[in-house]
Every structure is written in structure tokens, then in C-alpha cells.
């Protein structure tokens, strides 16, 4: 039996908000609207993180997913032809449903296998990080320095790769232009 506390009220309202918007992502026809609900889902997830006393991750969620990834998706949608029209008759409908069912099963399995009591917000609160961000910083630049550096190198390579892909196309283009001029 779930007890009626402020924490639970807030938790259930936020999670129902998140769930409803997550379901709406798949249900609405317009791609833009589903993107809008996706952003709402991101914000709801950030709220859940705050309930878990993970303020840094919550803010990172807002900053990266709701603020930046959504912009990326916006551009992706803008580059999609007929982005505003009815997307209900997609040919990916059945595969999507299948993948959804598999993921639901996995999630339910995870929830039932793991003991979440130790990881819930109240228990985490008892651990009492006085300054989450300082602890995260010390961990990242202390214990997990190699992982951090590797991640940064990976990102650097991704950045350079993206630039070089663009530049190589451009140089091809320039070469073809030059050839045209010579002819």
C-alpha cells in the first residue's frame, strides 16, 4: 500500500506527467507535436531526477536533452519532407510496436529484479552529499580521470571527424568548381 505523503503526491504527479507525455509522443500524428511532447518528457525526467536528489543530473538533463538534443531533433524534423503531415500511417508502425513491447518487458524485468529501496530519494538523501557538484567534480577528475579523458578524446575526435567530413565535401566541390573554370 502506498502511503499518502507529499513526496508521493509529487512523485506520482511528475511521473504521470512524464508517462502521459511519453505516450503522446507516439500517439500524436504531427511530428512537431510529438517533438514537443518529447521535450515535455525530458523535463518530466529532470523532475524525477530532482526527486532523487540528483540535482546536477537533473540540470544536465534539462540542459542537454531539453535544451540541446531537442534543437538537434528540431533541425532533423525541419529537414524531413512533409514533417507536418499525418504520420499515422507509417510503415514502421508494426516494428515500432514490437520494439516497444520488448523494451517494456525489459523495463519490467529490471524493475522486478533490482532492489530499488536503497536507491530511492529518501535513502539517497540520508547519504547527505553536501555539495553534489563538488563531489562529482572530484570523482571525475580523481577516480574516473581516465574514463573522463577518454570520453573527452572521443568527443574531440567526433568533432574533428564532423568538421573533416564537411571540409572534404567542400574541397571536392571546390575542385569541381575550379575544373569548371579551367574548362
Amino acid at each position: 500500500m502506498i502511503e499518502f505523503s507529499t513526496y508521493n503526491v509529487i512523485f506520482f504527479s511528475i511521473s504521470s506527467f512524464t508517462l502521459i507525455s511519453a505516450i503522446s509522443v507516439g500517439l500524436v500524428n504531427s511530428l512537431m507535436r510529438s517533438l514537443f511532447f518529447l521535450i515535455l518528457t525530458f523535463i518530466g525526467v529532470a523532475g524525477l531526477f530532482i526527486l532523487l536528489s540528483a540535482d546536477f543530473i537533473a540540470i544536465a538533463q534539462l540542459l542537454i536533452y531539453a535544451g540541446s538534443i531537442s534543437i538537434l531533433l528540431l533541425f532533423a524534423v525541419m529537414l524531413t519532407p512533409e514533417s507536418s503531415t499525418n504520420n499515422g500511417n507509417s510503415k514502421y508502425f508494426l516494428p515500432g510496436i514490437l520494439i516497444g513491447i520488448i523494451f517494456t518487458y525489459l523495463m519490467v524485468a529490471l524493475v522486478t529484479i533490482f532492489q530499488f529501496n536503497q536507491l530511492s530519494g529518501i535513502h539517497l538523501k540520508k547519504l547527505d552529499f553536501d555539495n553534489t557538484i563538488a563531489s562529482i567534480g572530484e570523482l571525475l577528475l580523481g577516480k574516473y580521470i581516465i574514463a573522463f579523458e577518454l570520453a573527452s578524446i572521443l568527443l574531440l575526435f567526433a568533432l574533428i571527424g564532423a568538421i573533416s567530413i564537411v571540409r572534404s565535401n567542400e574541397s571536392d566541390f571546390l575542385i569541381s568548381l575550379n575544373n569548371k573554370d579551367k574548362k
Binding site: 544536465a60 535544451g67 534543437i71
Partner: protein, 440 residues
């Protein structure tokens, strides 16, 4: 008798003088009682915790703080537009709103009533849901971002350790909302405006974060209150210590909040109003109000990050600190108005070039310099004078870098003599031109 009549034009000024004196007197009397507003919230908390549970007490006392901030924003929205219009009128040699109420002070209320009475038109092809939600939703980040602003010693509503990140995260939510506003209008001008906004905001978030990173690394905290306290304990304003960060933050923020000279997202001479072209009535009013609120928010942020918050050379012990804070905020807001009244607008590509080719590289260099300086400061015992030295070095480097960059990109100042027209010696066509031509 005529002497009395000759004073009539000055009666208005006399009233202003009397009002100011009266305000000062009342302020002096009240400054003791209203020195620290947080005590009232605490008193409510103490009162409620006896009567009910912790949660209710916490909720009700925090509600009071939130109401305080929201009422301040409401006041800003009411008075701000009047201030802006009067100021710009002064710049433009006209009078400005002066009909509704004394000095036209009630003009914003009249405007709001007019806007509310207007019919809200929705384009037939618009995406109704997003079109309706956008002007409402844009208010949320604009108000949420006020939470961690430190108004005074104990007057921070949300004193979290990640204050800067919080503001940054919340304000980044504006981008998709503006995009949805433009896209759902199904208007090419609106779409153009929202695409411009998104492109510009994505570009200008990088220099903003780099400049804020300099602030964070030198103060060693993300907490806005602690940043203010660091400045007062080292007795220097961060704006003087890292002038380039101040410039980058201020300039980039004007791009983020669509103020002149970077208001290309709603450039009225090009794309009429940009993303909110199709909005009418109070919906358009909401966008305008948010724009104004964001301008004041920028003032508050610059004040707490770079201008030493509520401290002003010991004056904060005598008058309420939040008054000093608001005064500094309003000063920054007036600078924004000044810019708006004076400068033409950049073009989109010029702004983008400026962000990517000038602000970002120079910010990175600036950031490395400040990292080195920070290590020196933290490893020295008496850091007070070395900070002043660094301030001078930073200003010199700031100027040097700008000169260097203008050399790299070959931006030479147009000398007025070089581009002034020449005068014809002979009237005629192309042949006569060859006689007069003396340039290039």
C-alpha cells in the same frame, strides 16, 4: 500674479522633487524595518511550524518568497515598458507616453487593457495546440530563471550550488518554445524568425558558457551568492578582473534575448516581427513582456556575476542591499535601452561570424589565461594585490587580442575621409567620370 503663472511649467518638476524627497524620507524610516525581507518569510515559517507540519510550513513560507519575486517581475513588466519608452523618447527628442496617469505612468496598464480587449486571431492553417502553448510556455523559463538570483545577504530564493548551470539550463528551454511559436504560425516570416533565433541562440550559447566558465573557475563555485561574496572578500568586481568575459556575456546575451544591435530574430524592418508575427492581442503582449523581463533578468545576472551584487562600497550597511541590487540591475537595463536607441542592427552572417571567429577563440584564450591566473591566486597567501595586477593584465590582453583579431581578419577601420563622396569637376557620363575619379 504673472510671477505665479510663470512657475506653472515647473510645477511638474516640483512634484517630482517632492515625491523623491518624500520617498527618501519614507525609505529612510522603512529601511530599518525592511532591511532584510527574508525575516518575514522565516517568521511565517516559524509561525506555521507550530500550527502544522513541516511541509505546510515550508510550502507557505516559500510561497511568500516566490510571490515576492513574481510581484517584482510584475512591477518590472509594468514600469519597465514605461521606462523604456520614456527613455527612448528622450533619446529621440520627443516626449513619450504622457497622457495616461501622471507622467503617463499608467500607460503600460492601458496598453495591457487594450491588448487584452483585442481579438486573438489564430491563422487557419496554424498548429492550434503549439500556437496556443508557445506564448504561455515562454513565461515559464523567464520566471524560473529568477530563482537563484541573490538579492541580498540572506535573500536568495533558491540557494543551490549549481545556480549558474540552473539559469543556463532553464533559459535554454526558451529556444524550442520560440521555435514552436514560429513554426506553428505557418508563416514564412515567423519561420525565418524562429530559424534565425535558433541558429543564433545555438551559436551564442558557446561564448556565454565560455565566459561563465571563466567566472566559475576563478571563484571556484557555481553558486551565485558565493560568487558575489568572493568578489566582496577579494574587494574587486569581476567585471574589472575579467573584462572580456563581461563583454562576451553581455553581447551574447543581447543576442539571446533579441535586443538591439542583435535583434535580428525579430528585425522589424526585415522580417516584420519574426517568430511572433502572427500573434495578436495579449498573446503578442506576452512575448513582448517576456522580452522585457529577460532584459531585466540579464541586468540582474550581470549585476550578481560581474558587478559585485548587492555590495556598493559599504553602502549596503545603511540602505537595504536589495535596493542596491535593483539599482545596478536597472542601470544595466538602461544601458540596454541606450544601445537600442542608438545602434543599427547587424546582419545574421555578420553576427555568426562574430560569434564563431571572434568571440569563441578569444574566449578560449581568455579562459586559459584565467585558469593560469587562478592557479597562481589559489597558491598564494595574500592574493589581494596580485588580483589587481591580474586585472590590469587582463584589460591589456583584452585590448591586445581585439587588435590582433582585427589584424587577422583584416578589419580596418573605415576612415571618414576615405569613404566620403568626391565632388564632380565636370558634368557628364562615363567619360567625365574618368576625369573626376581619384580613388581605387
Amino acid at each position: 500674479m504673472s510671477l505665479i503663472f510663470s512657475f506653472i511649467p515647473y510645477i511638474k518638476r516640483l512634484i517630482v522633487l517632492i515625491l523623491i524627497l518624500f520617498g527618501l524620507a519614507v525609505g529612510f524610516i522603512l529601511s530599518k524595518a525592511l532591511f532584510d525581507l527574508s525575516i518575514y518569510s522565516n517568521a511565517v515559517f516559524d509561525f506555521m511550524i507550530d500550527k502544522s507540519s513541516y511541509n505546510v510550513a515550508y510550502f507557505s513560507s516559500s510561497l511568500i518568497g516566490a510571490l515576492g519575486i513574481i510581484s517584482f517581475i510584475g512591477l518590472v513588466l509594468l514600469v519597465g515598458s514605461w521606462v523604456e519608452r520614456r527613455m527612448i523618447a528622450k533619446f529621440q527628442i520627443r516626449v513619450g507616453p504622457n497622457r495616461v496617469g501622471i507622467f503617463g505612468l499608467l500607460q503600460p496598464i492601458a496598453d495591457a487593457i487594450k491588448l487584452m480587449q483585442k481579438e486573438v486571431l489564430v491563422p487557419a492553417v496554424a498548429d492550434k495546440l503549439l500556437f496556443f502553448i508557445a506564448p504561455v510556455a515562454i513565461f515559464i523559463p523567464a520566471i524560473l530563471a529568477w530563482a537563484p538570483i541573490p538579492w541580498g545577504p540572506n535573500m536568495t530564493y533558491l540557494n543551490i550550488n549549481i545556480g549558474i548551470l540552473y539559469i543556463f539550463a532553464v533559459s535554454s528551454l526558451t529556444v524550442p518554445i520560440i521555435f514552436f511559436a514560429g513554426w506553428s504560425s505557418m508563416n514564412h516570416y515567423a519561420l525565418l524568425g524562429s530559424m534565425r533565433t535558433v541558429a543564433m541562440m545555438v551559436s551564442y550559447e558557446i561564448p556565454i558558457s565560455l565566459s561563465l566558465l571563466s567566472v566559475v573557475i576563478i571563484t571556484g563555485t557555481l553558486n551565485l551568492t558565493e560568487i558575489v561574496l568572493w568578489q566582496s572578500s577579494n574587494s574587486i568586481w569581476l567585471g574589472l578582473l575579467i573584462p572580456f568575459s563581461l563583454f562576451t556575456f553581455f553581447f551574447s546575451s543581447t543576442a539571446e534575448i533579441n535586443r538591439t544591435p542583435n535583434d535580428i530574430a525579430e528585425a522589424e524592418s526585415e522580417i516584420v516581427a519574426g517568430y511572433h508575427i502572427e500573434y495578436s492581442g495579449m498573446k503578442a503582449g506576452l512575448f513582448m513582456a517576456v522580452e522585457l523581463g529577460n532584459a531585466v533578468l540579464l541586468g540582474a545576472l550581470v549585476t550578481s556575476l560581474f558587478l559585485n551584487g548587492w555590495f556598493l562600497f559599504g553602502l549596503e550597511n545603511y540602505i537595504p542591499p536589495y535596493i542596491i541590487f535593483i539599482a545596478k540591475t536597472v542601470a544595466i537595463y538602461i544601458v540596454l535601452i541606450w544601445l537600442r536607441a542608438t545602434l543599427p542592427r547587424f546582419r545574421l552572417d555578420q553576427l555568426m561570424n562574430f560569434a564563431w571567429k571572434m568571440l569563441i577563440p578569444v574566449s578560449i584564450i581568455n579562459f586559459f589565461m584565467i585558469a593560469i591566473e587562478t592557479t597562481i591566486i589559489t597558491n598564494l597567501d595574500s592574493s589581494k594585490y596580485i588580483i589587481y595586477l591580474f586585472a590590469i593584465i587582463n584589460i591589456a590582453v583584452f585590448v591586445g587580442l581585439i587588435i590582433l583579431w582585427s589584424k587577422i581578419f583584416k578589419i580596418d577601420k573605415f576612415s571618414p575621409e576615405k569613404i566620403a563622396p568626391i565632388f564632380a569637376q565636370k558634368i557628364g557620363g562615363i567619360k567625365a567620370m574618368e576625369g573626376t575619379k581619384s580613388v581605387d
